[in-house]
């Protein structure tokens, strides 16, 4: 039967491989599922995935290859902000829809005609954390962030939105993504007067070490992590130290705890089951972003009734009320993400499990 090619350039290896790996697995599983059900409008999908190793230049070459050689009709994925940004011109020029899985708001702001994304922005994560802090009547926070792209970008966003949220950032520290001891930075935070809570923006192994060092130093304030640690791995690595850590994350992580009335419940439970059954690994929200992107594309293509790139793009932009693992998407010409703060849930780790904060 006729095949329609969709492409993906992911950071399956390299420093961001913990993003790329579940994204790759998710895309493979669900493209197979779509095809097993007869494809979209009777057309089967063919998925082409390239690994950029986290390198922007390689990402751009692979993007060119997808467009020029493979003749894909759409691209789902571009794992990090840096690689996505390098790929954008290729798809803008070729006029092919591109749904990125990168975190930063820069990908979709300013709005680019052909570019969308599904992960929550780091700014939303900051806002969510700040909202929770306000609820707890804590207003003075210290920030500690990784110097990698994710950590740094979110740090900047937090600093930017803090005044509006009524939060004062009293101290800022950072650490290298591969550092193995963060006690000097945390010691300085500990010594800073007035701190009421600490937020760590970062992904990879850094946050686990921060969490452990935090407990080692016996710092008494609440510790917030970002959505960048939203995988079971974090809890395992940080061990008992993770207890009491809060973070904003998608509903996916607490699928089973959602009330039955929650419209997201069936979606996230189904994804979690499928992913864990196929891979034997616990779900992370990162794979969920890929799921959302693929499904938004599939729905748009169905609505468009063809794989005409312009039509598909228009339909993606018209996505309304789409329930994904990350939340409910309502896109528009000015909003190529379409998630609002309600997409995030505030979680707390208790006894090694995610729990919903009510």
């Amino acid at each position: 039967s006729a095949q329609v090619k969709i492409g993906s350039v992911l950071s399956v290896t390299g420093p961001a491989s913990f993003l790329g790996e579940p994204e790759k697995e998710t895309l493979k599983i669900y493209v197979d599922k779509i095809n097993a059900k007869g494809g979209i409008d009777g057309q089967k999908l063919q998925l082409i995935i390239y690994d950029d190793g986290g390198n922007a230049n390689a990402a751009r070459t692979f993007a060119t290859r997808l467009v020029e050689q493979d003749k894909v009709v759409a691209m789902v994925g571009g794992a990090t902000t840096g690689t996505s940004m390098a790929e954008i011109p290729v798809f803008q020029d070729a006029q092919i829809p591109f749904i990125s899985l990168g975190g930063s708001i820069r990908i979709i702001q300013p709005v680019k005609k052909w570019v969308f994304k599904t992960p929550h922005t780091d700014r939303m994560a900051c806002e969510k954390i700040f909202a929770d802090l306000k609820k707890r009547k804590l207003t003075k926070v210290a920030l500690i962030s990784g110097t990698d792209a994710f950590g740094k970008s979110m740090r900047d966003q937090c600093i930017a939105v803090a005044p509006k949220a009524g939060i004062t950032i009293v101290h800022v520290e950072n650490y290298g993504p591969h550092d193995s001891d963060m006690t000097p930075q945390l010691t300085k935070i500990k010594a800073t007067p007035g701190v009421q809570a600490v937020i760590n923006t970062g992904f990879g192994q850094g946050p686990a070490i921060v969490t452990r060092d935090y407990r080692q130093l016996g710092i008494p304030y609440p510790l917030y992590q970002s959505h960048g640690v939203a995988s079971k791995q974090f809890i395992k690595l940080a061990g008992p130290a993770a207890n009491g850590v809060r973070l904003p994350a998608a509903a996916l992580l607490v699928a089973d705890q959602l009330p039955d009335s929650d419209p997201q419940k069936p979606v996230v439970v189904a994804y979690k089951k499928t992913f864990e059954a196929k891979t034997g690994k616990p779900v992370s929200t990162f794979g969920g972003h890929a799921y959302d992107a693929l499904m938004i594309f599939a729905a748009a293509a169905k609505r468009a009734g063809s794989f005409d790139k312009a039509k598909v793009r228009d339909q993606i932009e018209k996505t309304k009320g789409f329930i994904g693992t990350g939340g409910t998407f309502n896109m528009s010409p000015t909003n190529h993400l379409g998630l609002d703060l309600s997409a995030f849930r505030m979680l707390e780790i208790k006894d090694g499990e995610w729990t919903l904060v009510h």
Partner: protein, 345 residues
């Protein structure tokens, strides 16, 4: 064994030896004359390839990959001048790529300097940086030089990562297009020609240098600094000079990369990129101009070809790198040249 050989036999041998010596002498002389007249002969096949390749290209993707080969060929050539000819290791050359790249990115956006001028200023800045750091660093030898250059490269990468106000930080920044005489340079095919020609120009200059007194002095330094010094060669100055020249090559490649991609991240000056440049030089052949291009081709094309192996990509890449170095230990071009016809490259 016979007792004393008869005088006749000795004479005969003597004569044969002389005849052989004479013959080989004239052959050598002929070959030398050929070589001298064709200083640039090794470029002929490259020019041919540059012209023929586009006939085989079916899409802009091929142009892009080929453009990248020439681009990294320029960078590797610069490093090769330093490593292959002067024998000085650098594990930090990606730092100069970074300077070149950020120059064309920051120049126009932050200072309103036209891209072409930024490009030139980037090369000059790299030269200046190389001149300043080269003086102390080049006093070190071998592994110590390696770690010093490594540190230099990492320092630059740290600056590019941390000075987010200028560089966009780890997420990188967009690079304005290069506009030449109201004609925006875009599209892989255009870049293919620009980079191929640039590489050839770079190669001609490199060959000129190698065949000049300066080039000989550099190669001499590689083998014995002491002997070079007592022959009147200012070793420190010559090393510094080649360090600066090689920095300029690499910086230009970095500027090109930024312009070609339209977007850069600090990875461009990272440690892994430096290692990749060294690997290009050694794989292709230390001290071989054509080798720089071949080494670049191998490391640019392999990741494209190896997507075939999916998750085994790195296993295969590692095996190929090891295999090439084991079986062609002088590097691809010199080893093959020695195997076929004993020519030098």
């Amino acid at each position: 064994m016979s007792m004393l050989a008869p005088l006749e036999r000795f004479r005969l041998l003597q004569r044969r030896r002389l005849a052989a010596a004479g013959a080989s002498k004239s052959i050598l002389l002929d070959r030398f004359r050929l070589l001298r007249r064709r200083r640039l002969i090794s470029l002929v096949p490259i020019v041919a390839i540059v012209i023929i390749l586009p006939l085989l290209f079916s899409s802009a993707y091929y142009y892009r990959v080929a453009a990248l080969v020439f681009l990294f060929g320029i960078a590797a050539l610069g490093l090769n001048l330093l490593m292959g000819f002067a024998g000085q290791v650098s594990l930090g050359h990606a730092g100069f790529m970074g300077i070149g790249a950020y120059a064309v990115a920051i120049g126009p956006t932050a200072f309103g300097i036209p891209p072409v001028l930024s490009f030139i200023l980037g090369a000059l800045l790299s030269a200046l940086v190389a001149f300043v750091v080269g003086r102390p660093i080049l006093r070190l030898k071998e592994h110590y030089l390696a770690v010093a250059t490594l540190g230099f490269g990492i320092l630059l990468a740290i600056v590019f990562t941390n000075e987010a106000n200028w560089t966009g930080g780890p997420d990188g920044m967009a690079v304005p297009q290069l506009i030449l005489f109201n004609w925006p340079l875009r599209g892989a095919a255009v870049w293919y020609w620009i980079l191929a020609v640039s590489f050839l120009v770079g190669a001609v200059i490199a060959l000129n240098l190698i065949n000049s007194p300066t080039g000989r002095a550099l190669r001499a330094i590689h083998d014995s600094e002491v002997a070079a010094r007592v022959l009147g060669i200012d070793v420190a100055q010559k090393k510094l000079m080649i360090f600066v020249i090689s920095a300029v090559y690499t910086s230009i490649a970095g500027s090109y990369l930024a312009l070609l991609d339209g977007y850069i991240t600090p990875q461009i000056s990272g440690f892994l990129r430096s290692i990749e440049l060294v690997a290009m030089v050694v794989l292709g052949g230390m001290g071989s101009v054509a080798g720089s291009l071949v080494g670049a081709a191998v490391l640019v094309i392999l990741p494209q070809a190896l997507t075939l192996f999916d998750e085994y990509e790195h296993v295969v890449l590692g095996l190929i790198v090891m295999g090439v170095m084991i079986f062609l230990r002088a590097g691809i071009v010199p080893s093959l040249a020695a195997a076929f016809g004993g020519g030098r490259s």
